[in-house]
């Protein structure tokens, strides 16, 4: 599968800060979560991908187009939803989106038609005729989404797309991202701090720490524990049950998030767990294949990266 973004030994420093250090990564198509602590270089990377700033060293391509030479062609094929609350003062919602369509090269009537379509998709109805200054945070987020999508880009880069949204709107925004990826075959790069959003939406995860890519993998691979096992929730005390599991060569461990994992080499089905629970009169509230949580993966990765001396330093 052709990667949508290829970075080769990319570095960027400005104002005495080394924002990116020898970043080398191939990002596959799909929905990709870009994770990293504050100041890890996510915004610099995104601005670099849009050609808004030039990398000091290294080469980069986006959708097969090279930076910085083809930055305008890249911007024609990429939609960008910025984190900041940005708008063109004095315009209504529909005018803002139509204006962005024009700036992207669409003709007036075509841009207006696309603007209405995408505002319907973004769930911004009669509000589109109001000045953007009067919009709530949620409306502005929807407007930014519409502006980013109006020229029908192949890749959408979203910086904190669910910030300021209430739970319903957040779910709707994540659903829109999924629809774009599954139904319209768009690639979406989502930079966010909300790990749950990534877990529920993304196919791949890229973790950036201190300007370096420390992990790139599919969410499936990352979530799969080293040893197959099951996460158990019981109703009431079940100490005798867990002792019995240990006696039957199962490893029982309590995870950081409070869940209990049981695993055993070569175990392929949880039948024995069910029968032992029945023998000890324990009611099992939930039993499902154990998966590493993204939170756990993220914290472990960031911790490991901070303990490892940086290659360039």
């Amino acid at each position: 599968m052709q990667p949508i973004i290829q970075l080769r030994n990319v570095s960027k420093s400005y104002r005495g800060i080394q924002a990116l250090r020898g970043v080398d990564v191939d990002i596959p198509p799909g929905v990709i979560g870009l994770l990293g602590p504050n100041g890890s270089g996510k915004s610099t990377l995104i601005k670099g991908l849009l050609g808004l700033l030039r990398f000091n060293v290294g080469s980069a391509t986006v959708l097969g187009l090279s930076l910085p030479k083809q930055r305008f062609a890249i911007r024609r094929s990429v939609g960008y939803l910025p984190e900041d609350d940005c708008y063109i003062a004095g315009l209504t919602g529909i005018e803002s989106v139509a204006f962005m369509a024009k700036l992207s090269g669409l003709s007036g009537p075509e841009g207006l038609r696309r603007s209405h379509e995408i505002l319907d998709f973004a769930d911004l109805h009669e509000e589109r005729y109001r000045p953007v200054e009067s919009y709530s945070t949620g409306m502005r987020q929807k407007l930014k989404f519409a502006q980013a999508m109006v020229h029908d880009p192949d890749l959408l880069i979203m910086d904190e797309p669910t910030t300021g949204l209430d739970p319903n709107q957040r779910v709707a925004m994540l659903e829109r991202i999924r629809t774009l990826a599954r139904k319209h075959r768009k690639s979406v790069l989502v930079s966010t701090h909300i790990l749950h959003d990534v877990q529920t939406t993304c196919d791949h995860v890229v973790i950036l720490t201190a300007g370096q890519i420390v992990r790139v993998d599919s969410l499936d691979n990352l979530s799969r524990p080293a040893q197959a096992g099951w996460a158990i929730e019981t109703c009431g005390p079940a100490d005798a049950f867990f002792e019995a599991l240990t006696d039957h060569a199962w490893t029982v461990s309590r995870r950081g998030d409070g869940s209990i994992w049981v695993s055993r080499d070569g175990a392929e089905s949880p039948d024995e767990i069910w029968s032992l629970a029945a023998q000890h009169d324990v009611a099992i509230a939930s039993l499902q294949p154990a998966r590493n949580s993204l939170e756990q993966i993220f914290f472990e990765t960031v911790r490991d990266a901070s303990e490892t001396p940086l290659a360039n330093s």
Binding site: Y14, K47, L50, L52, L53, F72, A73, R75, R76, Y80, P82, D84, D85, C86, Y87, I88, A89, G90, L91, F99, M100, K102, L103, S104, G105, Q147
Partner: protein, 296 residues
């Protein structure tokens, strides 16, 4: 083009801008009526009318315009146009630019709209051209377009065809004079707007520049006249030199020269040089200010 069209549409929504545009059309009507009247009145009256106009234009000293005894269109029409540009339209320009330019870039900073522009396939140069074209359009609406309309009407109402041969160079003079007025002023005004997120600071800076220029001009003129009165050798400060300290008077001298109202002197070279330096310097700083915002 899209940025300019959007800027023009947004600016047009301002009530004060529309009022200013309506007000600034009156001088053009007066100018047109003057040309019509000149073509009709007695030759003696024409000369008196234009002598007072020449004094108004600040035409004096070695550059004194010789007013011909008979009516000469190649002298009178440019003088009329120079006055049209110099007095009502230059002042209107200060107001009009003060209404549009300060918010033009500073609003984009404040609302972070610049990021929306530059995530599209446009560069800093195109962005700035679009912003400047908005100002050029409105400034052309109060200077170039009415002046050309007046000229065409003048041709239309004149009694014979000789008028065309007498005044064929006037449209060229109008265009050059418009360029001298529009490009430097829009460049300075946008540079001020690019320095701050608060458009009121840019508006204050813009108006202060003109007011300080006027005050300096009048103060230096007063000093020069006092020196003239005290010593027989006269003042070292000539009107040509003093005009270099006031943007309004500097532009006025250039326009008078372009319309052929005053003859060439070293002060004109200095005025052109200052105008060029200011335009190039503010364009460079404007570009730099906007470019540096991108990496923030």
């Amino acid at each position: 083009m899209s940025i300019a069209a959007n800027g023009i549409r947004l600016a047009w929504r301002g009530t004060w801008l529309r009022r200013t545009l309506i007000l600034t059309s009156f001088p053009a009507v007066i100018c047109a009526l003057s040309i019509f009247a000149l073509e009709q009145v007695e030759p003696g009256s024409q000369k008196r009318f234009f002598r007072s106009m020449a004094i108004l234009s600040g035409v004096q000293g070695p550059n004194r315009l010789s007013i011909p005894s008979d009516y000469k269109r190649d002298v009178y029409w440019p003088l009329l146009m120079a006055n049209f540009f110099r007095y009502p339209q230059s002042i209107a320009m200060v107001l009009l630019v003060g209404l549009i330019a300060p918010r033009s870039i500073s609003f984009d900073y404040r609302s972070k709209g610049a990021l929306l522009y530059f995530s599209r396939p446009i560069g800093v140069t195109q962005y700035l051209l679009g912003k400047q074209a908005t100002l050029w359009f409105y400034l052309a609406c109060i200077t170039t377009i009415p002046a050309l309309v007046v000229y065409v009407l003048g041709l239309a109402v004149s009694p014979n065809l000789s008028v065309f041969w007498d005044t064929w160079d006037l449209p060229i003079r109008i265009l050059i004079s418009s360029l001298c007025l529009i490009i430097p002023t829009s460049s300075v005004a946008l540079w001020m707007s690019s320095m701050t997120e608060e458009s009121r600071y840019a508006a204050f800076g813009w108006l202060a520049m003109w007011v300080l220029g006027w005050v300096t001009f009048f103060a230096l003129t007063l000093v020069a006249s006092m020196q003239n009165a005290q010593s027989s050798g006269g003042s070292v400060l000539s009107v040509e030199t003093i005009a270099l300290f006031s943007p309004y008077h500097l532009l006025g001298r250039i326009q008078n020269y372009v319309f052929g109202v005053i003859e060439y002197d070293t002060g004109i070279s200095w005025a052109f040089t200052i105008l060029m330096i200011v335009t190039v310097a503010t364009q460079c700083m404007l570009y730099w200010n906007v470019r540096s915002r991108l990496v923030r």
